[in-house]
């Protein structure tokens, strides 16, 4: 952080100014001239909050992807299928048992087990063969997508939010001041706030366990030099299986989250695969903080894009990726190897 500020005083200043402006735009009531140019403050705030929660969802999907890639150099293009499968299974569990929270546990275990199968049956057989892994996982995603279409059909599914989470809550943020002088506060769906907080907690927990625990130490050592790590006597294949199971389980859990505040349908697997690709390319391959930053950027870009330039919102995310690639090919927080 200090390094960055010392090296790039100009950019640091711009970033600090942008953050100050953002804080002002969130908390202060907007002057009328501002409203004329940018529309009502409520729209802006909603786009901001939706962007951040969408970023949280993207982070859940992409962090597993980036962890698997960073450690094992395994390119799992079936990651989107794991997401959608998790969502469907979560829907079935939540629907039959009525317990929303139970679906998270079941999905984490089931999809994590699928991840173990993938690692043992597919990736261990073709270690180091990038292209073959890519092709095989593309094949798997095609087959799995069609099997899911077969079983669950082409309908839209939405996982019902449990009662204790549904409904909006009032946030201490002023959107407008009525003519009577009474302030209007922002209302926002409670479940999204919970999801956002949960993702932040998961992200922090991942960061802490990567940096403070023994398994995290093994994983970081594996990222740096896995041959040397296995030479020191660590049974590295077990670490691989563990990480793969965790990453896959996370993708499944993200599916339940996505199914709760968006919807599940065929094609969502490709969408989330692409989203996680863009997120990790922007943030930097194999970096958890990079995935968080990339997910936040892409989520915000998508939501603000859909509010302020609805036609090209989807293209905007790819534009960000192209710009990042052109100026910083290793990603914003990636390390050059």
């Amino acid at each position: 952080m200090k390094d960055f500020m010392a090296r790039n005083p100009f950019w640091s200043l711009i970033i600090v100014l942008a953050i100050c402006f953002l804080i002002w735009a969130i908390f202060a009531p907007w002057p009328p001239g501002f409203v004329d140019t940018f529309g009502r403050k409520k729209i802006f705030l909603n786009a901001l909050f939706n962007g951040v929660t969408l970023g949280a969802l993207y982070f859940l999907v992409a962090s597993g992807f980036t962890l698997i890639f960073g450690l094992m150099k395994n390119v799992n293009l079936a990651h989107g299928s794991l997401y959608l499968l998790g969502g469907y299974i979560g829907y079935d569990v939540a629907n039959t048992t009525g317990w929303w929270l139970l679906s998270f546990v079941v999905v984490f275990v089931v999809v994590g087990a699928m991840g173990v199968l993938l690692q043992v049956l597919v990736f261990q057989r073709m270690e180091g063969e990038d292209l073959r892994q890519t092709l095989v996982t593309i094949g798997i995603s095609i087959v799995v997508a069609d099997l899911m279409l077969w079983y669950w059909g082409g309908d839209f599914y939405q996982i019902l939010t449990p009662d204790w989470l549904s409904g909006p809550i009032q946030l201490p943020i002023v959107t407008a001041v009525k003519s009577s002088g009474e302030a209007v506060f922002l209302k926002y769906p409670f479940v999204r706030i919970v999801i956002l907080v949960a993702s932040i907690v998961i992200g922090l927990a991942m960061w802490l366990s990567l940096n403070k625990t023994r398994v995290g130490m093994l994983i970081r050592a594996g990222v740096d030099d896995r041959d040397m790590l296995s030479a020191t006597g660590v049974r590295i294949q077990r670490v691989f299986v563990l990480v793969f199971a965790f990453g896959a389980g996370l993708a499944g859990v993200a599916g339940v989250v996505g199914g709760t505040f968006q919807s599940l349908a065929p094609g969502e697997d490709t969408r989330f695969l692409l989203a996680s690709l863009v997120v990790v390319i922007v943030g930097g391959m194999g970096s958890i903080p990079g995935a968080a930053l990339g997910a936040l950027l892409i989520g915000l870009a998508e939501q603000f894009g859909s509010v302020y330039m609805p036609t090209y919102a989807v293209v905007l995310t790819f534009l960000i990726m192209v710009v990042v690639l052109a100026f910083r090919p290793q990603g914003l927080l990636g390390e050059r190897r």
Binding site: V75, I138, G139, I142
Partner: protein
């Protein structure tokens, strides 16, 4: 493009040789004659449906996959953007030439519209390549996949230029020399001609100094750089060449379908091109055409086949996916690789000892 000083390889006796030297008519192996004759006589053998919908389509898809094979096989860069380049050429032809969407199409004559379409599409492919070569290996696949989907979404959302979701229809080939080129037989020969040109030019380039340098870059980029080759320039030049082939195929494709829409360049078709190239085999230029024939036959007849087997025809994608999965799982170099291994097992000498192998291929096992 000429990064190297040399103009041709040198033969053993010191005489300069071009890439085609040693190629007289007699040196062409018999299978090539047979395949060539069969392809030329095809209109006498099969009906118009086969000619147009099966072989025409397969040759076009084969050309697009060939451009991928050139990048992937010789350059080591697997690019998923080739279908988008083809669709870009198709769009440009529809925009500058004639189509049923008269408020957008400019209606310029074909000899202006086609070169412009080719140039723009090649430029698009080159720009993509210039971005993609900043990264290596697996990143290339991801970036080109992302650019291909960006192109798909852009064409779907843009109504001013690309006419959004519905795209363009009514794009017809010009009436040249009094021939209606959309009739099955003329169209078949048209695609056959361009596919042959594309095939032979890839074969030529792969043996020319540029192609050899490209293969050197694929095998060891750092060493080639140390030898004084401009690695980036070679890679981008490969994209230019491959994009041009894909652009030609795109123009043929829009004539075949009569229309172009965002679905032409979707993520599914982009991956299908990769499947075609890989199933055929990335090692030789003929692979993509074999893959394309298999793909088109599956696509056309799998439905009937599955229905007759008592399965529902909707599971077509499952069949394609399973075939693809089985092939890449057990034979990374595609059908051609399978064929080569089988042939080696059947009749060959042991590469180490020079002795004839057992009939049952004992030394292999």
């Amino acid at each position: 493009m000429a990064v190297t000083e040399e103009t041709g390889t040198t033969s053993i006796d010191g005489k300069p040789q071009s890439a085609w030297s040693g190629l007289s008519l007699g040196s062409i192996p018999t299978p090539y004659w047979i395949v060539g004759a069969v392809m030329l006589l095809m209109p006498a053998l099969v009906g118009p449906f086969f000619l147009f919908q099966v072989f025409g389509w397969a040759l076009i898809l084969g050309m697009i996959a060939l451009s991928l094979m050139f990048l992937g096989g010789y350059g080591g860069m697997v690019s998923l953007v080739q279908m988008s380049v083809a669709a870009c050429a198709a769009y440009m032809l529809a925009i500058f030439g004639d189509s049923a969407i008269t408020q957008i199409s400019l209606g310029w004559p074909w000899w202006v519209a086609i070169p412009i379409a080719l140039i723009i599409a090649t430029g698009f492919g080159t720009l993509t390549g210039a971005l993609a070569v900043r990264t290596e290996g697996i990143y290339t696949i991801m970036i080109t996949l992302a650019i291909a989907s960006a192109f798909f979404y852009f064409t779907r959302q843009n109504y001013v230029l690309f006419n959004g979701f519905s795209g363009f229809n009514g794009v017809k080939p010009p009436q040249l020399f009094g021939v209606d080129w959309r009739q099955p037989i003329p169209f078949y020969y048209l695609t056959l001609f361009w596919a042959a040109v594309a095939y032979l030019s890839v074969l030529y380039v792969s043996r020319a100094p540029f192609g050899l340098a490209l293969q050197g870059v694929r095998d060891n980029a750092r060493r080639m750089e140390a030898l004084g080759y401009n690695v980036t320039a070679h890679r981008i030049a490969a994209y230019v060449f491959a994009s041009f082939i894909a652009a030609v195929a795109g123009i043929l494709l829009v004539w075949l379908n009569g229309q172009v829409s965002p679905g032409t360049a979707g993520i599914g078709p982009a991956i299908d091109i990769l499947i075609i190239a890989v199933v055929g085999g990335l090692a030789r230029p003929v692979g993509p055409f074999i893959g394309a024939i298999i793909y088109v036959l599956l696509r056309t007849f799998a439905l009937d086949f599955m229905v007759s087997m008592g399965l529902s025809g909707e599971r077509f994608q499952l069949l394609v996916g399973l075939v693809f999965l089985v092939i890449v799982f057990w034979s990374p170099d595609g059908i051609l690789g399978l064929w080569e291994r089988w042939r080696n097992r059947m009749n060959s000498t042991d590469p180490l000892t020079g002795e004839a192998r057992n009939k049952d291929g004992g030394s292999e096992a």
